[in-house]
């Protein structure tokens, strides 16, 4: 159809022009649009796109062409950065503008980072009503950090007129204020940078000073700020880097007048602008010229068109402006249509913005040396420390030449998924004449066949064409045809399925050289080290050679190159330096971002500055458990497609998705559901881990009274109850010493639980690897073998031992370190088993240190292993809610055995072979190990001559007894839960500090420190927050502080929750304060019960709280 063909033709010609322009580096502008959410980025982009005829200018501002996702259109916010190439002609010069639209919502600031990296300039859009918003500050900072030059667009000026009903004079002051705000942000960025630099310089100076031993230092506080010139940073209309616009109505202008100063200049301008003339004549004294010359005109226009709908005046204005407005627009009932029809001709926003961009923003070749060095020096590495060859590449960056000889350097900032339907290879093209002719011929043939078949169908015998697939003669023609159609349909289906596969396109920019289709290149991962490669590779090698494998470096062939045109992709054969492009077929080689080069000396670019780190964690599960593999595959794809999302599988088997915020999370889940996994999924709060521990008996009660002196009211009653709780065979004395005998009355153990000092726990946690090595050594020694440990590790172990000794001081711990029997759980955890048995000397865990001494071989008693196994099991899951223990020491005081020697001998074989499995009293059911072999074991009982009694094998009994003893010993002490804690770093402005503290304290957070960031009005607050309270924390804090505070959470440590989960009032004071029931919520108990309920353990809770209040459903009457 004609219209479409016309558009297509235009598209094609523009495409040709663009390809031609790609080679003129000085006429390329790479820029992105940045702003706070809802300040009109995408609308502005629409007007720019419309200027190229890609969309109708009538639809500009309504279509949001670059928001290609369905949820973007529904929600009305942009969620990804997308690029489009535009063509613009000004003053006889043709320009290629690679425009990248970015999201404004804080959750997607990672997308902004990917956009900013590829650009040389940025259009910062600010809402004329809302002014500078949190995200405006963030994007300005991002642009600043990436060293790209910004220009300003003050958008939505129509709102000042229509919504706020400001006069032109008021609007003028308002706009001035906004300009000041924006410049203030820029200024603070500048000062903080200068201060930082000065601090660095000072540090250097100081170090040199100490060398020179010159004592007198004079601080020059004024230095820096005054010396550095910052005037070119600021936005000001007279510098021509500000556009006033209303993108929705399609107008905008760049104000070049120095409206505070001379009339003469403005007079000169008056001649250029036809409308200014008549307004100028009836000026009233003191109005600023800006108001007189510009704002009043616009105000008049809105007044005439929108407010009063004065047709005559409108017509007069239109004719005086020399515009042509279509009569249907004049008649249209919606004044906005007319307005945009007039304005888009009078002051088209696209012209204003694009001309500013072409004038004020640098071309790719003007890249500053400073920025190049910043891009090339990864992490803390200084540019000077890079290998020489790498430093040479700086020239290539600066030249930005599209020469054949120049090395190719491309940076990929993100990967985005594209439906294979959208790929140009698979797109439907308009058919050429020959093709149409061919098709017509085919159709004619088919028609003829069908006719023939119909004729033959009338003849008898051919009606029974069942379902045989072999076509025989024309008689079967109809059937064949049908079958053909079927197979065709099938193949189409298969093709559709094939097409549904996601393709990834790399979002990239060429910094040097020319990328060609089919070219061989190196793909360098973010951790690639050029110096390593340069050493390993022969001199002057290229990609085509067979190369040794180097970490984070792969070779690949460039599959396809695309021109990014918003929703569309156009295939290209080559892309010269300075352009933004898409590269296909890279999904195998690139995860999220990468550097592509033909030179192995190329360093990987510095990682993107992400303003928001992912902190919202959810566990994702498929609705149908059988679809697990699909979910995993989908999550992998999501991880690749999203620069900010993280996915991981936890030890618990949970699939955790970490996103930057709730909106981001929603998008990720939608993507998983509809694109990547294509299954139903559910997201839930992730499992929160806890640890169990014991503490020293508290000296204070809950109302901070000394416990010692007070009369304990209910204590006698409680002790009685506890005694009743203990089953037979368990005795607990007042000091917490537990005595327990195995069911067959053969062995008795006495165990006591002691809290470990905090430092010891930390020490044990930090030295897991050492403990594991020691454990291995003991194991080998036990089998009369030796394990060689290198000297360094031995030293570390010695060091570890000394540290332990220094931390375990005092009467209680005398000789404790030498007596350590085992660590647990899993033989290397933060709990200790102590051997305090008189007269039992077993090889120490430190025997690897005493190798030279060749001490007399200490005897290991039989069943030694069972005791250790019991301890391991007890520490793996505690009695409170079956979570692992932490920081508990179990000291075995006595261990009596009443078995005859030969029997023990016989059974000791059994003992090492016994799995460390809890053999409960209920042996037959305790595990299937016992079950499956119960018959055989009985027969063995007879064979062994009654050495195994009715309670099962003795070693199993001992394990169970030891485990139970540990649990009782644990329960005899004051028990506490330990919560995982996050350290939380929050950046916030002064005015929201109060609200932020409220959120923190509501979630049991604790502030550690508060600091003001130098040179800004931002505060940096450090706090700790329990992981259990962190779900939804980020979202809440953002909501409460209107996005002015952004938290970052990192796991830091375990912390004892001070409240006792089993607490009931015992003292008189407590009774007075809390009453008998103590109804106030006990946080620890809540945590504990939540875990117990999750695990299906018994929770001490009434099924019905109030017996009388149950609903009565009487059946009889």
């Amino acid at each position: 159809d004609g219209h479409y063909a016309h558009l297509l033709k235009m598209g094609l010609t523009i495409l040709e022009k663009i390809i031609a322009l790609q080679k003129k580096t000085s006429h390329i502008r790479n820029l992105c649009i940045l702003a706070h959410v809802d300040h009109g980025k995408t609308t502005l982009a629409d007007s720019l796109v419309a200027s190229n005829g890609i969309i109708s200018s009538r639809l500009a501002g309504k279509l949001r062409y670059l928001d290609s996702r369905e949820d973007e259109q529904i929600r009305g916010i942009t969620m990804k950065s997308s690029a489009i190439s535009l063509h613009y002609t000004t003053g006889g010069n043709e320009y290629l503008i690679n425009l990248i639209d970015s999201p404004g919502h804080v959750d997607f600031s990672s997308e902004v980072s990917t956009a900013v990296r590829l650009c040389d300039g940025a259009i910062v859009v600010v809402d004329a009503v809302e002014g500078v918003c949190p995200q405006t500050q963030v994007v300005l900072r991002q642009a600043w950090l990436e060293n790209i030059r910004p220009v300003l667009v003050i958008n939505k000026i129509d709102r000042l007129i229509v919504e706020l009903k400001l006069t032109s004079q008021e609007a003028f002051t308002h706009l001035q204020k906004i300009l000041e705000q924006v410049n203030a942000v820029t200024g603070s960025l500048f000062t903080s940078k200068v201060l930082e630099e000065r601090a660095e310089k000072d540090a250097e100076a100081q170090s040199s000073c100490t060398e020179n031993s010159s004592a007198d230092q004079v601080y020059d506080w004024s230095a820096g700020l005054e010396e550095t010139d910052d005037s070119d940073l600021y936005f000001s209309p007279d510098r021509g880097n500000v556009v006033f616009a209303s993108a929705i109505d399609g107008w905008g202008f760049r104000y070049i007048l120095r409206f505070f100063k001379q009339r003469a200049i403005s007079c000169a301008l008056v001649k250029k602008n036809p409308l200014v003339g008549d307004v100028f004549s009836n000026s009233k004294g003191k109005k600023p010229l800006f108001v007189q010359l510009v704002l009043d005109n616009i105000w008049n226009m809105y007044d005439a068109v929108v407010t009063r709908r004065d047709k005559e005046k409108v017509e007069k204005m239109v004719t005086s402006l020399g515009l042509k407005v279509m009569s249907r627009d004049l008649r249209h009932s919606d004044p906005k249509v007319l307005l945009s029809a007039i304005c888009s001709q009078w002051l088209p926003v696209s012209r204003a913005v694009l001309s500013m961009v072409c004038e004020k923003l640098p071309c790719p070749a003007e890249i500053s040396a400073e920025r190049v060095e910043k891009l090339m020096s990864v992490g803390a590495r200084r540019f000077d420390s890079l290998p020489e060859k790498t430093q040479e590449l700086k020239k290539a960056f600066l030249d930005c030449s599209a020469d054949e000889t120049a090395p190719v350097i491309v940076f990929v900032s993100k990967m985005f998924a594209v439906d294979s339907k959208a790929l140009p290879q698979n797109k439907q093209r308009p058919l050429t004449q020959e093709e149409i002719a061919q098709r017509r011929e085919l159709a004619r043939q088919r028609h003829a066949e069908r006719q023939a078949a119909n004729q033959s169908a009338e003849s008898p015998g051919s009606a029974d064409a069942g379902g045989t697939s072999t076509p025989a003669g024309p008689a079967r023609g109809a059937v064949t045809d049908a079958l053909c159609a079927q197979t065709e349909a099938l193949s189409v289906k298969a093709a559709v399925e094939e097409e549904n596969k996601e393709h990834f396109v790399a979002f990239a920019r060429v910094y040097s050289g020319v990328v060609r289709k089919g070219q061989k290149v190196f793909v360098l991962g973010p951790k690639y080290d050029p110096s390593l490669a340069l050493r390993a590779l022969p001199e002057g090698c290229s990609v085509a050679d067979v190369l040794p494998s180097i970490p984070h470096m792969t070779c690949c062939t460039v599959d396809s190159l695309y021109l990014l045109m918003g929703r569309e992709l156009e295939e290209l054969d080559e892309v010269p330096s300075g352009n933004v492009l898409g590269i296909g077929g890279m999904e195998e080689f690139i995860l999220k971002s990468a550097t592509i080069s033909t030179s192995p000396a190329c360093p990987p670019f510095t990682p993107l500055n992400f303003e928001a780190t992912p902190i919202v964690r959810v566990a994702v599960e498929p609705k149908h458990p059988s679809e697990m593999p699909k979910l995993v595959r989908g999550m992998r794809l999501l991880n690749q497609a999203d620069p900010c999302a993280e996915v991981l599988i936890q030890e618990t088997g949970e699939h955790v998705l970490v996103t930057a915020g709730e909106v981001h999370l929603q998008r990720c889940l939608d993507d998983l559901r509809e694109r990547f996994a294509k299954i139903e999924i559910s997201a839930s709060e992730p499992i929160i881990p806890f640890r169990e521990t014991v503490i020293r008996p508290p000296k204070m009660d809950m109302v901070n009274e000394d416990l010692g002196k007070q009369q304990k009211v209910a204590v006698i009653h409680q002790v009685k109850e506890e005694q009743m709780k203990n089953p037979e065979g368990v005795q607990v004395d007042s000091t917490g010493l537990v005595t327990l005998t195995t069911p067959n009355k053969m062995a008795t153990v006495r165990v006591r639980a002691i809290p470990l000092p905090e430092e010891v726990t930390r020490l044990l946690e930090d030295n897991v690897e050492l403990i594991r090595t020691m454990e291995q050594f003991s194991l080998f020694a036990w089998e009369d073998k030796t394990l060689d440990i290198n000297q360094k590790i031995l030293e570390n172990i010695q060091d570890f031992k000394v540290k332990l000794e220094s931390n375990l001081q005092g009467h209680k711990w005398r000789g404790a370190v030498e007596h350590i029997w085992a660590f647990g759980p899993r033989r290397c955890g933060p709990n200790i088993l102590l051997n305090n048995i008189e007269g039992y000397r077993r090889p120490s865990v430190w025997q690897c240190l005493e190798r030279e001494k060749e001490t007399e071989r200490a005897e290991i008693r039989d069943f030694d292993n069972s005791i250790v196994s019991g301890f391991q099991l007890a520490t793996l899951s505690g009695p409170m809610c079956e979570e692992p223990l932490m920081g508990v020491c179990f000291s075995v005081e006595t261990w009596h055995m009443k078995i005859s020697a030969p029997l023990a001998q016989q059974d000791s074989v059994d003992e090492d072979s016994q799995p460390a499995e809890p053999s409960n009293d209920d042996q037959s059911e305790s595990s299937d190990v016992h079950e499956t072999s119960s018959n055989r074991s009985r027969s063995r009982v007879e064979a062994a001559g009654g050495s195994v009694d009715c309670y099962g094998p003795f070693s199993g009994q001992l394990i169970a007894a030891m485990k139970e003893a540990c649990r009782f010993a644990f329960q005899a002490k004051p028990q506490r839960l330990m919560a995982a804690m996050y350290t939380c770093e929050i950046m916030a402005t002064a005015e929201v500090l109060g609200r932020m503290y409220a959120v923190l304290s509501k979630r049991e957070g604790r502030v550690l420190q508060e600091e003001m960031k130098e040179g800004t009005d931002m505060f940096i607050i450090k706090a700790v927050l329990p992981v259990a309270e962190s779900f939804g924390f980020a979202d809440e804090i953002r909501k409460r502080t209107s996005g002015l505070a952004s938290p970052q959470l990192v796991f830091s440590h375990w912390e004892v929750i001070s409240s006792d989960p089993f607490w009931v009032p015992t003292t008189e004071e407590e009774y007075l304060h809390f009453g008998e029931k103590a109804d106030s919520t006990n946080q620890t108990l809540k945590y504990m019960n939540a875990v117990r309920r999750r695990k299906g353990l018994y929770v001490e809770e009434k099924i019905v709280e109030h017996a009388e209040k149950q609903r009565t459903l009487s059946k009889n009457k």
């Binding site: 059988s626 991981l648 599988i649 059994d910 072979s913 499995e917 099924i1103 019905v1104 017996a1107």
Partner: protein
């Protein structure tokens, strides 16, 4: 004998009757529904929240109160509260709807937890979460039997789940050292029981590290002990062969 008129009768609603036979007599008490189990587990401590009236009956529905003599002859005391407590603790009752529901729910959870603890996804060597197992159990319409132990039921569930999802018992890692002369012979016998052999050294003695199904452990244990007459050693390296630590999907 009381006169049966509307004014002097107390009608009880929501009654759960707890019965006990003692001394040849039947005694009953009237309790609230869904409360007796909480009392027995110790969660409910207020007797008034459990008992409808502080009276011991012979027949609750007819309102016949037990005689004091009978009480003292059967229980040795005529303190009604004491007798009520005894009947509450030891009497038989019909379990009320919510009690049964919460009991079954708890068992269901327990079974799922056991399955999740014992099993792994063979592809990733990582455990499934309890929630996922629960969902899978619901998908195969598994119903809890109150009179069977949760462990037994868990083992049954694992077998059934194998048809719908990728699941298997986590393997045990064993290491055994066998004397050379028995080595070859035993190895043949052990082969069907072993899933995978990770390491094998045969010089003066046979040393093997292998993965087995936990169900076969007893057999292997017994085989080695009997055949080598106590000379071979067997050691459990890990009860569950699972991946440790978090893994980033990349």
């Amino acid at each position: 004998m009381s006169i049966f008129t509307p004014t002097n009768q107390i009608r009880l609603t929501n009654v759960a009757v707890v019965r006990m036979k003692k001394g040849g007599k039947r005694f009953e008490i009237a309790c609230y529904k869904n409360k007796v189990m909480s009392w027995r587990s110790g969660a409910e401590k207020d007797l008034d929240e459990v008992l409808q009236t502080n009276t011991v009956f012979v027949n609750v529905s007819k309102g016949q109160v037990a005689k004091k003599d009978d009480l003292s002859s059967a229980f040795g005391t005529d303190d009604v509260t004491e007798v009520c407590k005894q009947i509450l603790a030891k009497g038989e009752l019909q379990v009320s709807d919510k009690e049964r529901q919460s009991q079954l729910e708890q068992m269901f959870r327990d079974i799922a937890t056991i399955v999740a603890e014992k099993c792994v996804n063979p592809e990733t060597k990582r455990p499934y979460t309890v929630i996922l197992i629960e969902r899978a159990m619901k998908d195969i319409h598994f119903s809890v039997k109150a009179n069977k132990s949760t462990k037994q039921q868990a083992l049954e569930v694992i077998k059934q789940l194998k048809q719908s999802i990728q699941i298997q018992r986590a393997h045990m890692r064993l290491r055994f050292v066998l004397p050379a002369k028995d080595g070859k012979r035993l190895k043949e016998k052990l082969r069907p029981l072993i899933k995978t052999v990770e390491n094998e050294e045969f010089d003066d003695q046979l040393e093997m590290v292998c993965l087995i199904d936990p169900g076969c452990f007893r057999d292997i244990d017994e085989l080695i002990r009997c055949e080598t007459k106590g000379k071979g050693t067997l050691e459990v390296l890990s009860l569950k062969d699972v991946e440790e630590g978090d893994e980033k999907l990349e």
